[in-house]
Amino acid sequence: MGTPVVAIVDDDPRVLASLDELLESAGYATISFASAEALLAHGLEGVDILITDIGMQGADGFELRDRVWRKYPELPVFLITGRHEITDQSHSCGKGGFLRKPFDGHALLAALRGALDDKQA
């Protein structure tokens, strides 16, 4: 397997750019999108992991995850939220997880690593 590809969706360009930097520093290839629609228009061919913000204009993170999982049910999807209550009440039933802003970058990278290892196993 070559360099893993991570797709990032966040409507805040500051967060998007910082995630991009973080993943790049960890050796991932990234493609970034400012909205769910932009990612869906681009397609998920070759994407190994999806990280998406929850609260966005247009389709939100949950909707994006559901639509992606219809075609790629095995794709790990990580949801990022600024709101505490969402992570408390909603547990993912597929692969991936929740991250609460602001999160520890090392924890994110560890979670990504774990998801990729599961995929390969």
Partner: protein, 560 residues
């Protein structure tokens, strides 16, 4: 009298000349009064019927006398079938006993429709007291009270009779078959009028009637009682009855509008509707809604105004109360916006903070890579500074936000703001069985302040106090005191809760000891108080609990 008889004769050219006997003479006297009259012999056979009466009946004299069936007089055909038996029985009894005949019944008009009439008859006796004949008249009850005409024999109110005749729901105007069955018999016009009068007098409304020029001519009992006087009582004031009444009962502030609307309606015939204050008998002005509309005759000429007046004082009160509640609610929303503000501040700060953390992790990785990527680490550090700066910008923007709103400062009395804050929390306090005590010096004049913001601070501190006592079992009192200290006013909000564990930390943003909330309330409150030139801090309350204190500058008294 003889000339009248002569006129009558000349009108009868070509007709059988009536005999010049007492009953006919009497009928002719009546004719002069009412137009229609009749005379019969002792057994009830018509001798004379005046031309107007014949026209009214719509059948000739000989037909009135001819038996239509089995020996019954022909006038049966002009009386409503349902009324005939009673009328005929009364007539037969009178013929036998010689007593006065007076019966109300419906009569077929020449137009083909039935109308209510009163038939009256009086016997004429000879010198031996023997009845020699009858004379009488038929009074058209449906039209007897044309404007300006006196009712024939009724002491009830002419304006109401007018209503009886014209109002769409009065019984007289309803087809005989459709009239409501009141008790056992169909109502006569008199009964129907009495019924209407009862209706008008018992309606929970104030009813009045007025002439086309507005002169009041009738007031229902309730209206008379409400005003404490009646129609004539304002006649000696040297004004018209309308003006005299209006000047006496309409609130001075409403008088001009009322008069304007009245005169507009009177001149145009347009319905009148207005809310105004009306002076009750006890001198109290109460809000009423008055509506009047014109009653017109067949030609469309206004013959009378009928009005209704409803006391809407309670509704007006309720409405005022509602707007007060709504105003409070909107203030509560402003107070609630503290929570929303906290959430949005949290989000705004969170975003650059997330970036800072991501960049920090990335920077660490670039530095720990083998070999270290110094160049990328350097760039990432720059991004960290940028993101941290943008977080600081969020804070400055919030401060600027508070600064802008200080333009709205006013000089409301502090006590009023405290009481409003208490009202906003009254529901929560009573639910938690917490007493709120407010004491303070009166007339504390602050330098102009932003009432909404200071109320937010008070609501926030008081709500904290209530929350702190939520689990306490007894002696639950929230005490708010305001008094003067060294040119400042000092406001204390003291609770008997568990007290403060971290008196230094509680004013820090996002610090909270509650399950709910962002921990921004006290931070924002302190920011508001400081922007007003005051200070906010926490103390221990004696014997237990917490006491939050803030100061605001008092307005300086002008030097004497």
């Amino acid at each position: 009298m003889s000339s009248s008889a002569g006129t009558s004769k000349s009108d009868h050219d070509g007709l059988t000349k009536p005999p010049d006997i007492d009953v006919v003479q009497s009928a002719k006297i009546v004719e002069r009064l009412t137009g229609n009259a009749w005379a019969t012999d002792a057994v009830g056979k018509f001798i004379y019927v005046t031309p107007e009466a014949l026209a009214f009946f719509g059948i000739p004299l000989d037909e009135l006398n001819s038996p239509t069936d089995a020996g019954i007089d022909g006038w049966r055909q002009v009386i409503h079938p349902e009324d005939y038996d009673a009328a005929a029985a009364a007539w037969q009894r009178c013929l036998q006993t010689g007593e006065h005949y007076s019966v109300e019944h419906r009569m077929l008009r020449a137009t083909g429709s039935y109308g209510w009439v009163r038939s009256t008859g009086q016997p004429i006796r000879d010198a031996t007291e023997t009845v020699v004949g009858w004379y009488g008249t038929v009074i058209d009850e449906d039209s007897r009270s044309r404007p300006g005409e006196r009712p024939a024999e009724n002491s009830s109110d002419p304006s109401l009779q007018n209503v009886t005749g014209a109002a769409p729901h009065s019984f007289a105007a309803i087809h005989p078959d459709d009239r409501p069955d009141v008790g056992h018999a169909i109502e006569s016009p008199r009964e129907s009028e009495r019924h209407l009068q009862q209706l008008v007098e018992t309606l929970p409304a104030l009813i009045y009637c007025a002439l086309p020029d507005g002169k009041p001519i009738y007031r229902s009992k309730r209206l008379r009682q409400y005003l404490g006087f009646n129609l004539e009582d304002t006649d000696d004031l040297g004004k018209s009855r309308l003006d005299g009444t209006l000047d006496a009962v309409i609130h001075p502030d409403d008088l001009a509008t009322v008069k304007e609307h009245y005169s507009r309606s009177l001149s145009t015939g347009q319905p009148y509707a207005l809310r105004h204050r009306l002076r009750r008998f006890d001198g109290v002005y109460r809000w009423v809604e008055t509506r009047a509309s014109a009653m017109c005759n067949a030609e469309g000429i206004v013959v009378q105004w009928n009005g209704i007046c409803l006391d809407i004082q309670d509704q007006v009160h309720a409405q005022e109360e509602l707007s007060r509640v709504q105003e409070n609610l909107s203030r509560a929303n402003q107070a609630a916006s503290l929570a929303e503000l906290s959430a949005s501040i949290a989000h705004e700060v969170n975003q650059p903070l997330s970036a800072v953390m991501n960049y920090s992790s990335a920077c660490q990785r670039w530095l720990t890579a083998v070999p270290p990527n110094i160049e990328r680490a350097q760039k990432t550090l720059e991004r960290i500074v940028q993101s941290a700066t943008s977080a600081a910008d969020v804070i400055s923007r919030i401060r600027a936000l508070f600064k802008q709103s200080t333009d709205k400062r006013d000089s409301t009395e502090l006590g009023a703001v405290v009481r409003e804050a208490r009202d906003l929390l009254a529901e929560q306090a009573s639910r938690q069985r917490i007493r709120m005590d407010i004491e303070g010096e009166s007339g504390l004049r602050l330098v102009p302040f932003d009432r909404v913001q200071i109320q937010q601070v008070l609501v926030n501190l008081m709500r904290n106090g209530l929350d702190a006592m939520a689990s306490a079992s007894n002696d639950k009192t929230l005490r708010i005191r305001a008094y003067r200290v060294d040119g400042m006013v000092r406001i204390e909000v003291a609770d008997w809760g568990r007290g403060i564990q971290f008196p230094d930390k509680i004013f820090e943003p996002f610090f909270t000891t509650k399950d709910q909330g962002m921990g921004m309330g006290l931070a924002i409150s302190r920011s508001i108080v400081e922007s007003h030139g005051g200070q906010l801090w926490a103390e221990k309350n004696e014997p237990r609990g917490a006491k939050f204190v803030f100061t605001l500058p008092l307005e300086m008294m002008e030097a004497a």
